[in-house]
């Protein structure tokens, strides 16, 4: 991929993604030395400080480590910051250096089931938005999600095109609603026919089924999402601490 200096995506960010993709694609293996900052700068025709900025971010994110006088190397994959933080699909994928996009299957305003109603702490007959999306990473379908949101909290949500927009991003930007924490239940289930077709796998293959309830300020529930994740493409990683 070429570095584009004409559009307003920071150069250091583009370099960072390039390196990340080389790591994820396996061109760069754990322990490999990456190009020196000087060479990166020359190759992309940028200043060394900019190249260094990109590398610094990847060092901070735990992908690379520097050795003075020797070079900068690829880390053995780490876990650390994976599961404990509340992030959306788009952000997750971006962090791993994948291109993410969504296919919006449907977005409707309707009256929810009692379960959802109760979970979202809503009165009877109040409406919600229900959105169904298939999520892709590098054009491979990974997840199928059904999201439920209180309509009163997100008026005119259907005006946004969620093909490339993250939901949390949109909530934050246009509705000033920030997710604060979420509870999550992860199950392992055999895929239904519908899910299998949408995610382009065989019926019955093992998948993750995840229920996530997201809360914003003041413990106010703002989202209930059910997700199917392909078992062959998705891994949950986490760090556990004693006591």
């Amino acid at each position: 991929m070429a570095i584009d200096t004409s559009i307003p995506i920071p150069i250091y960010y583009q370099i960072k993604q390039e390196i990340l993709q080389d790591i994820n694609a396996g061109y760069l293996q754990p322990g490999d030395r990456i190009e020196s900052e000087e060479k990166l700068a020359k190759r992309y025709d940028i200043s060394r400080m900019t190249a260094r900025h990109a590398v610094t971010q990847l060092v901070n994110d735990g992908y690379l480590y520097r050795v003075h006088g020797k070079g900068t190397f690829v880390c053995t994959p780490r876990v650390e910051k994976s599961v404990a933080t509340l992030t959306g699909f788009a952000e997750d994928m971006q962090r791993k250096g994948y291109q993410s996009k969504s296919k919006v299957i449907s977005i409707e305003k309707l009256i929810p089931t009692e379960d959802i109603q109760e979970t979202l702490n809503m009165k009877a007959k109040e409406q919600i938005y229900q959105m169904k999306r298939v999520r892709y990473a590098n054009n491979t379908p990974i997840s199928y999600q059904t999201t439920h949101l209180p309509a009163a909290m997100f008026p005119d949500l259907e005006q946004y095109d969620f093909t490339h927009l993250g939901l949390y991003e949109t909530m934050s930007e246009h509705y000033d609603v920030e997710p604060v924490y979420a509870t999550q239940k992860i199950e392992s289930k055999n895929s239904s026919l519908e899910t299998a077709e949408l995610l382009e796998v065989e019926e019955g293959v093992a998948m993750f089924f995840v229920e996530r309830i997201t809360y914003s300020d003041g413990n106010k529930p703002m989202e209930v999402t059910y997700s199917w994740h392909r078992g062959d493409k998705y891994v949950f990683e986490m760090k556990l601490y004693s006591e």
Copy 2:
């Protein structure tokens, strides 16, 4: 304190410590705005990039946060957020009020695969204990686990009867080895025939496959366990926090 540019302590580091001390001394309260990068640079007679470097480090360390166009502010002190705790099967079940027991399928002393060897940070030809157990909750088989332990760390482990003993409990009591943290990868897979038979389910049903690497003091790996958990009986629950 004065900034000393003559000795080989990086300037950015000295600035960083100055700001940190102001925070710890209470001169800078949570929410307070700190001096702008420009002013820091002028006051210490350094370039803005150097001042920025100091601030960046404090941002990365979670002491400060930046707001574009407004300034840089002191964070509210972090609250400890224990997300997931490191517990063994027996303890898990007990906590949920189930009777737990195990059927020890095998316990052997052998030379491990290279993978295990590497993960456990062992020399070639060093031996491990490999133990296979089926774990029950209220007499229902729930999990099938294969555990690998450095034999040198747990001499004569085979003398203990793990039908009712927890592994972590035994380690702590008889070997003075305490698990400190673990990394865990959770996958969703269709059950193999062997696993299905041991756990009394149909072949191919969705299950969790979990790799857990447990570390004791000094980041010393002490255990690698692969677990199959029945998808129809097992749920992972967790709380996620933003940022």
